[in-house]
Amino acid sequence: MKSRTLWRWNPVSGEYESGPAPARHGSGEISAVQAFSNCTLLLMGGTGFVGKVFLAMILDRFPELRKLIVQVRRKKNVSGEQRFFSDILNSPPVRPTVERLGGADALRKKIEVLEGDLDEPLCGIDPERLEELKGKVDVVVNLAGVVDFDPPVNESFETNVYGTRHLIDLVRLLDTKLVHVSTCYVAGKRNGRISEETEILGYYPHRDSSPGETFSIETELDWYEQFVRETRESRESSPRPVRERLRDGGMNRADQWGWTNTYTYTKSIGEQMVAQTPGLTYSIVRPAIVESSLLFPFPGWNEGFTTSAPLVLMGGGGVKGWPVRKDGPLEIIPVDLVAQGILIVAAAVLCGKGKRVYHLASADENPIMLPRLVSFLGMNSRYKHKHKKEGNRLANAWKAYVETQVITVESLQARRSRLHRGLDIIHAALTLGKTVFGARKIDPYLKSLRDTRRQIRAQEITLDKFLPFMFHNSFVFETRNIREAASMLTDEDLKRICWNPETIDWADYWVNIHTKGIEKWIRPMFATSKKPAS
């Protein structure tokens, strides 16, 4: 469905503007078409959310590419090659492109699958293959990483820290260039505008408030080795499971330096490893929160739970009080823009014009403020609960007609304790009822109370995970470097890829693309992943 009009929405000023969009022109200092033609690109971590969109995008936009080598991890009995051709090429975001290009068999000439694992030295690649590849790879794009916010610290370290070390060794052995994808949130607990020019090496977020300390990779690695060893050795003496203690250990260490979680802490160490390698040509790409695609491969593609998906699902479930900053933006960026950003950076690196750090974020030019998102969540809940057939009718009406509210963390805590006290009273009443009316009559109610409590607790945990990005801190990531790189492309490149978050119509994106994408792609996964628990 197309709409024919002379008017164009300008999301920044909030007005319609007349006439067609001004044509984009570049200075032509970087030519992506030229850079990618006859180029061999090695893609690490091409199986993730961003990875698959990037893979589809480069195949779709740059047919000139000579060879694409994709690293895929072996999974139990399934070889990397098998996984790639049966799973990855058949996945929803990649399949449309593959079909357009003539099917998987037509791509076998262009794509080479490299079985490997970042957790092993030199990424676990067969030494013979390595010998063949030496000097033949033009650029390595690394999208691999453990993106869980608070995994046991060893899982995060193995991939995000040691994996990066193995990757650097590989890049040096192949004598090539590196585009390393990290995250904007390595900035940690900071506020305001975050520059791309801040020194990477020795960075820790609390530097301004406690400048006396020195952050070094070696100390962190020593701490990590010792901590994991001690935790595992004291398996018998401590009552808590090792996994949980490893999880807390990572979070505490991250917090001590000022990072929001284990993920951003380990990603920052990874970045610092890249930065301290002498003679390495690299660019670090830092996307903000990566969200549903805007246009490519189709509007609304989404995957995984490390986006705002849990929040959208909770909002649709009828959560009313949202602790967010009234004046803060949520730094989100559609996945297809991230893929285009990485392509632009890779082209810049290939042309020798790469900068150290590129933020891929939206709020610098076109911020979407948190209170607006809260009201979108409310309207979605209104729609869903009005047309909901099952469940308590009174509860549905409440969720449909009571609007979402922006609240503070203090009132959130107060609400929570009130709610739990209420549930305690109900529990007590039911237990008393059990002695009077017998277990047969009361047990179903007790069970449903237990389920409700479990659900509420899960929601609280999810909300707490997102608090650093919604309430405690308010960031705007500067994106000067990517804009500059995009303005250096040729006009032909700009027909294929561009960087234009300033044109995103957030209302349309959030309501018609993002929320519907999450309902379609994430909700079913969420439902099945919950089943074993209950």
Partner: protein
């Protein structure tokens, strides 16, 4: 594709009433107190709108769009799906979908040409599977509706002009195309195509249609489609 089917919306495919639509937005304001206030305003405006409609259609339009003044665009977009489910879907005429499917099967490009606003149209267009929409847009200042419509206001002659322009840009033969409308205001649009169809016509349009020997179609009940639409599907 070199022929198109141009559709008017209101009264032709569905009977969506402006007052019920405004009442919907009033009912779904941010809080209950505001809702009651807004609903009172809508109820009070009913006699005024009724009188205006009898007096002048364009003045009626201006007034009806003024009701959006002060509304945030986020809300208009965010409530569009619910508005569709609650007030618009029940008012769709039983034969409307069959007619649109029929023109699509016959190779017409389905184009919706209506004075209704873009955010209201979206779910309707998706429901019917329109290929293209030409519609009105509200003017916004800093995301808030001013109560005016962006020019050119799509009505009467402007509709005919915009389908001529569309046909020229897309290489569509208007002689082979068809148009559907219920109102005599759309006579310029109907006259612009080779196969005009008076659909659920008003008395005035019925007279004009009979004079010009245009086929008359009723979508409110079981009816036969005009001869030029028959080869694909007989109903």
């Amino acid at each position: 594709m070199n022929k198109a089917a141009f559709y008017d919306l209101d009264g032709t495919l569905l009977s969506c009433n402006l007052v019920t639509m405004h009442a919907y937005y009033a009912r779904n304001d941010r809080s209950l107190v505001k809702s009651v206030y807004q609903l009172t305003k809508v109820l009070l405006s009913v006699p005024l709108l009724f009188g205006l409609d009898l007096y002048s259609r364009s003045l009626f339009n201006v007034f009806s769009f003024r009701a959006y003044r002060g509304m945030h665009r986020d809300r208009l977009i965010g409530l569009a799906d619910d508005l569709f489910e609650v007030t618009i879907k029940p008012s769709i005429f039983p034969q409307a979908k069959a007619l649109i499917d029929c023109t699509r099967d016959l190779g017409y490009r389905n184009v919706l040409v209506t004075g209704t606003l873009d955010f209201t149209i979206r779910p309707i267009a998706l429901h019917f599977g329109f290929d293209e929409i030409i519609c009105n847009r509200l003017e916004f200042k800093n995301h808030v509706a001013t109560g005016r419509v962006l020019s050119p206001l799509l009505a009467e002659n402007e509709k005919a002009r915009s389908i001529r322009e569309y046909a020229q840009q897309e290489g569509i033969d208007l002689k082979q195309s068809c148009a559907f409308s219920d109102s005599s205001a759309d006579v310029p649009m109907l006259s612009a195509v080779g196969h005009p169809v008076a659909t659920n016509p008003t008395h005035r349009l019925r007279r004009i249609a009979l004079r010009n020997e245009w086929p008359i179609l009723e979508l409110r009940e079981e009816s036969t489609f005009p001869p030029f639409l028959r080869p694909a599907k007989a109903l």
